[in-house]
Amino acid sequence: MKFALIADEVRVSIDSDSDIVAARQKGRELAAQCGFPSTDLAVVATAISELARNIVRYAVRGEIILRLIDDNGRRGVEVVATDDGPGIPDVTLAMQDGYSTSGSLGLGLPGVRRLMDEFEISSDFGKGTTVTARKWKR
């Protein structure tokens, strides 16, 4: 799905934990511009955190793209996390609660899906992963 862009998109390359903070910061700013209530700002920051830490942990480097979008007057924030890493062999499995290949909580991907309003994931095994999540202004 393609939505109208309200402002220029923001790209943050991710390759360390400090980049995660930068991406969260930008996301929060963008969502604040859009007039999100403060708890939803935290939600957007959380989604960015989870997707960015997955990039750092599993793909080593990648990029977070942030967009302010408009769908017939409804405004929202789109978070795209994309990398050229190893990809996910079984996306359905990766989306299951508690599934983790690193002994972590397996909370990230399913958590982001539930916190955000829309969620898409596509992964080519060996080629990389792209996750797109949107939150609309309430």
Binding site: S18, I20, V21, A22, R24, Q25, R28, S38, T39, A42, V43, A45, T46, S49, D97, L105, L107, P110, G111, R114, L115
Partner: protein, 444 residues
């Protein structure tokens, strides 16, 4: 405060200090990671609330002005939200799971409430835990009259020992094949039921039995009707066989005597022409006798299945020119219903071969294999598409169905192997008593 929480408390203090010191997003991220860590350790939201309260108090006592106090409060609140977000994610998961569970329970309820079969659960001590509404329709009992009670008074006394054994089997975590029990209705009548029973487990332990019971009154009635019909048919066939053999046979014998009389009074050359007629008459007599024996072969009762089949094969062979070979031996004599069923089945199979197969050769083979007797009837004819014939509902012939029904009655099975151009083979298996392959003396 335990050491685990103590360590987290220090981290929380540091995060709040950092945030107040203007480290912004980095401090918020710290709080978020702290929340994740708390969750991972299996601690709860209230623990985070405790951490936040202590950190906040420590900072607040240092505040010199109201303005500063307000700022601290506002910022601490934002930080608190961050540390709670991991819990929010996991909370939403629980909500989603609960909703799915509720929906699946509702679907299960609907299914159970509208099912036409009885669905029951038992506890390990044989008490009835649940019954669905159709139990009332079928048995006339109210469910409330039985829930919490022992199941045993519901079962026919003769069936009870088996029911108890089966309960033990299921409680030992095994799944028995379907079984039949008669159930006492409120009216006092017994209803035949077909049952399944499976163990209900919780944390790997068997905690009860879940099963389905179907009212098979109609099926039993149909089976009984079919059995009686077959019996009546056998009687009728016997009558016709006797009529052919005795009455027609005797008439023909009188004709013989009459002709012999006449022949004596005729000149030799005319009497020789009469001899030809008498020869034909003898053939007719022989055929009639053979036919009557095939119809109801006393040889089956007297000598057993193998001689009867050989006799039948011989007759068919002579009538049709089909070459028929009987191989192997059915072994020990079997109960009369089984022998009759096998005889009729081979008879119908041979009829099919002559009617449809355009075959030149048939092999009938008996193999005794422990508690199974297998009989195969194999022809080298046109063959047919088995699935297509079986799918031909309504318009299909009664032969193969009749074979199947006869086998049902004696607990046997039928396999048909055939394809166009490949001939046809019927493979019949019936359970028999274990024992040697040698034939017993005639049943008398």
């Amino acid at each position: 405060m335990n050491p685990e929480l103590r360590e987290l408390a220090d981290e929380y203090d540091r995060a709040l200090e950092d945030y107040l010191a203007g480290r912004g997003e980095a401090a918020l991220q710290e709080a978020y990671e702290l929340g994740r860590k708390t969750l991972k350790k299996g601690l709860g939201m209230l623990d985070v609330a405790t951490l936040q309260q202590r950190a906040l108090l420590k900072c607040l006592v240092r505040a010199r002005t109201t303005k500063e106090g307000t700022r601290i409060l506002r910022m601490a609140q934002k930080l608190f939200v961050e540390s709670l977000l991991p819990f929010e994610m996991s909370h939403r998961r629980v909500q989603e799971v609960n909703t799915a569970l509720r929906e699946s329970e509702q679907r299960y309820r609907n299914l159970v409430d509208t099912a036409r079969d009885v669905i029951y659960t038992l506890s390990i001590d044989g008490k009835i835990k649940s019954l669905n509404p159709v139990f009332e329709t079928i048995t006339g009992w109210l469910r409330a009259e039985w829930i919490g009670k022992e199941f045993s008074p519901l079962v026919h006394p003769d069936d009870l020992p088996r029911a108890v054994t089966l309960l033990q089997v299921v409680l030992a975590s095994r799944v028995p094949p379907t079984f039949e029990l008669r159930i006492r209705a409120k009216s006092g009548a017994y209803i035949p039921g077909e049952f399944t029973a499976t163990p209900q487990t919780q944390d790997g332990r068997v905690v009860g039995v879940l099963g389905v019971a179907r009212d098979i009154t109609d099926r039993k009635r149909a089976e009984e009707a079919l059995r009686r019909l077959n019996e009546a048919l056998e009687e009728e066939v016997k009558r016709i066989a006797h009529a052919l053999h005795d009455e027609a046979g005797q008439l023909l014998a009188s004709v013989h005597i009459g002709l012999a009389d006449v022949a004596r009074d005729l000149p030799p050359h005319t009497s020789r022409r009469l001899d030809d007629v008498r020869g034909l008459l003898t053939k007719i007599e022989e055929q009639l006798r053979h036919l009557s024996h095939e119809l109801r072969p006393t040889i089956l009762d007297d000598l057993g299945l193998q001689p009867a089949i050989e006799f039948l094969a011989d007759g068919v062979s002579r009538r049709t020119g089909l070459q028929i070979v009987v191989e192997g031996a059915p072994g020990k004599r079997m109960p009369a219903p089984t022998e009759t069923a096998l005889y009729r089945i081979v008879q119908e199979a041979l009829t099919n071969v002559t009617k449809h197969a355009q075959a030149s050769h048939v092999t009938i083979r008996f193999v005794r294999d422990g508690r199974l007797l297998r009989c195969s009837i194999h022809d080298n004819g046109t063959g047919f598409d088995v699935l297509a014939v079986q799918a031909r509902r309504g318009v299909r012939g009664l032969g193969l169905i009749g074979i199947q029904e006869r086998l049902n009655a004696v607990g046997g099975t039928l396999n048909v192997a055939s394809a166009p151009g490949k001939g046809a083979e019927l493979i019949i298996s019936v359970p028999v008593e274990a024992g040697g392959a040698d034939a017993d003396p005639p049943r008398r």
